[in-house]
């Protein structure tokens, strides 16, 4: 087993991996950019090294610097988390060259899956069902027009190197095709340095369902059940659940077996995710493979009882899978809410800043994976994911009720977060009935939230505002409310000081 693992990441996933290391008796090495010295992953690490400026290219994306730290700290493996370098075959290869184990698939497997067109070619060979369309980049507008007519509109133009919705265009008819093709190509060029674009049939209101797989380095590959990831905004997932309410045991077995064949076709090792589009007739089509740990891996952990990061590390250390397919069972239901520093009143624009108060939920069925803490200044340089609230219950209704309860306990003061969005989603009748597709969230957000004016609660707010001001006033005096439970030590918010000044004026 490894003695020391370098975590080439930050935020909640770095904390997640550090915890796994500590549970396995492995020392955890953190790296951090200039704005991340006070981050939770540094606090929780055993060793920590600065790696440069805030810009990711100077730090978390800088292969040479990270490998230099691996060497200086004598780490024998690197966990890349998700994002940053996690799906970069050059990094995987550089690790191998430097004699440090990359905890993930081989560079070759990544490359096979990294280009969507190459992946489609491989799947074609392995007889995997995928969304109809081309498996090669489009040569010309004429070819595009021909293919589109052949498979029928609407069609999707997609960047071969794509991800995160970049270089993607939905085309309803021939007259839109030319400009869409040009736009997709130039966006692909700008985003990925690769203008290759291909065509897929557009599936109307599809569901996005993905299958977790795990493969050891001895030829054993298993699937660990699916996740329902249809709730997306701007092609970014917001809430995920497992199992999918759509998938029955037979469909799960069929999708799982296809996912295992996809992984085997790519010579895949370690944890990975095979994404499928599912149409309204429950046909499923291979979409792409994510060659890393997913943000939403905890929902799979909760329903299977396994720890995927432990397993990633054990597989990377050369161990065989400790279970066979038939020993994996699914029990209960899990849902993950991605807590972002985003402003719901401002179109979910990122909202960094200092967290002045943090009340975290706990209790039965609640798991919290987080990279934040009270007093931390959320930097504005990275993805605004603060943490994840994951609920587990006997069934879907119970976990929904449980998350509603936990969301009511969750309070992140001083910055805007999307916590209120989850209350809307979880209490939506369509969501409760599991009528989900990738358009669900946009439709929900288009509807104005009917804020019923709660007069009683407004009265409570008025009284409380006055009491807060009054307590600020007599901070050093004696007053009953404060005496009943000695006052917090933490008192010098500007506002209180201000109201104190005013009251004494």
């Amino acid at each position: 087993m490894f003695k020391k693992i370098l975590i080439a990441n930050r935020g909640e996933i770095a904390v997640r991996v550090i915890r796994a290391c500590h549970e396995m008796g492995i020392a955890a090495v953190a790296v951090y950019s200039d704005v991340d010295r006070a981050s939770l992953h540094v606090r929780k690490s055993d060793e920590a090294y600065p790696i440069g400026a805030a810009a990711a290219t100077e730090s978390y994306l800088n292969i040479a610097k990270i490998l230099d730290i691996a060497k200086r700290s004598r780490a024998d493996a690197i966990h890349p988390g998700y994002g940053f370098l996690s799906e970069n075959p050059r990094f995987a290869r550089a690790c191998a060259d430097a004699g440090v184990k990359f905890i993930g698939p081989t560079a070759a497997a990544m490359e096979a899956m990294g280009s969507k067109t190459r992946a489609r070619q491989a799947m074609e060979k392995a007889s995997i069902p995928f969304v109809p369309g081309t498996s090669r980049g489009l040569e010309s507008f004429e070819e595009a027009a021909q293919v589109a007519q052949h498979i029928g509109y609407p069609i999707m133009l997609k960047a071969a190197a794509g991800g995160g919705g970049k270089g993607m265009r939905l085309v309803h008819a021939l007259d839109e095709l030319k400009s869409a093709l040009d736009a997709a190509r130039s966006e692909a060029e700008r985003s990925f340095g690769d203008r290759e674009v291909y065509i897929e049939k557009a599936i109307v209101n599809p569901r996005h369902i993905e299958m977790q797989i795990l493969a050891d380095e001895h030829g054993n590959t298993v699937y660990l059940g699916e996740r329902e990831c249809s709730l997306q905004r701007r092609h970014q997932k917001v809430l995920e659940e497992a199992p999918s309410p759509l998938v029955d045991p037979d469909m799960r077995r069929r999708m799982g077996e296809v996912a295992v064949r996809v992984a085997q076709a790519a010579g895949y090792t370690n944890a990975g995710t095979v994404e499928f589009l599912v149409d309204q007739q429950k046909n499923f089509y291979f979409l792409e493979m994510n060659t890393r740990l997913q943000v939403e891996h905890p929902v799979t952990e909760l329903i299977t009882g396994f720890d995927l990061v432990h397993l990633q590390i054990r597989v990377a250390a050369g161990e065989k899978l400790p279970f066979r397919q038939e020993e994996i069972s699914i029990r209960g239901h899990a849902i993950e809410c991605r807590i972002y520093a985003e402003d719901p009143d401002n179109n979910y624009f990122p909202s960094p800043g200092r967290i002045t108060l943090l009340l975290a939920p706990s209790g039965p069925g609640i798991r919290r994976d987080s990279g934040m803490y009270q007093g931390w200044n959320v930097p504005l340089d990275y993805d605004p994911l603060l943490g994840k609230l994951i609920g587990y219950g006997t069934d879907r209704d119970q976990v929904i009720a449980r998350l509603m309860r936990a969301l009511d306990e969750y309070f992140v003061g001083g910055i805007k977060t999307n916590i209120s969005l989850f209350r809307r989603i979880l209490s939506d009748p369509e969501f409760r009935a599991a009528r989900l597709d990738t358009g669900f969230l946009d439709r929900l957000l288009e509807r104005r939230e009917d804020k019923k004016s709660d007069t009683a609660a407004a009265d409570v707010a008025a009284i409380a505002a006055g009491i807060f001001a009054a307590l600020g006033t007599s901070a050093s005096g004696s007053n009953g409310a404060a005496d009943a439970n000695s006052r917090g030590q933490d008192d010098n918010s500007k506002w209180k000081a201000a109201s104190r000044r005013e009251a004494l004026h």
Binding site: L359, D383, G414, K416, A458, N479, A503
Partner: protein, 164 residues
């Protein structure tokens, strides 16, 4: 102690006194039976009658929010005896300031000082966390002043423009 309190735009007068461990409270003239404990800074356990509320207080970019359970209210508290707060209250009727809702970088300025803009017209573009946000004018008027420069870093609450 008397406070003028605005909750989500609605004004209330609160008469609040504390003696011998008990509060007396009149909200808009109505007597309320209350009992309050500051559990920790910014967290109040408030009983009104026997109903129990966990109330949180926060400032985001200068704005005071009071949360009753999971419902958020925009709040302003003024002590009518205070000259300072009266002055501040008057602020709201002057030219309209457009402030940054979060820290970020000014990537583009879309109008010039002196220019007339419609309500909803873009004024500046701010970037944070890899996303760009166009800050719009809240009303029709003349752009009096744009105190920020392209490329400048701004903090939450900084004034980006003033529209008269």
């Amino acid at each position: 102690m008397i406070y003028d309190i605005t909750i989500d735009g609605k004004n209330h007068r609160l008469d609040l006194n504390h003696a011998d461990g008990r509060w007396s409270c009149f909200l808009d003239g109505r007597p309320m039976q209350i009992d309050a404990v500051l559990a920790r800074s910014d967290v109040l356990s408030l009983r009104i009658g026997n109903m129990c509320y966990e109330v949180k207080s926060e400032r985001v970019a200068g704005d005071l929010h009071i949360w009753v359970g999971s419902a958020r209210f925009a709040a302003e508290v003024r002590d009518p005896r205070s000259l300072r707060s009266r002055t501040r209250a008057a602020d709201h009727h002057g030219p309209r300031k457009i402030t940054a809702a979060m820290p970020g970088k000014v990537v583009r300025i879309l109008v010039n000082e002196g220019e007339e803009v419609e309500a909803g017209a873009g004024i500046v573009v701010i970037e944070a966390m890899k996303m760009q946000n166009e800050i719009k004018s809240p009303k029709k008027g003349i752009v009096q002043k744009i105190p920020v420069k392209q490329g400048a870093a701004v903090n939450a609450g900084d004034v980006l423009a003033i529209v008269e």
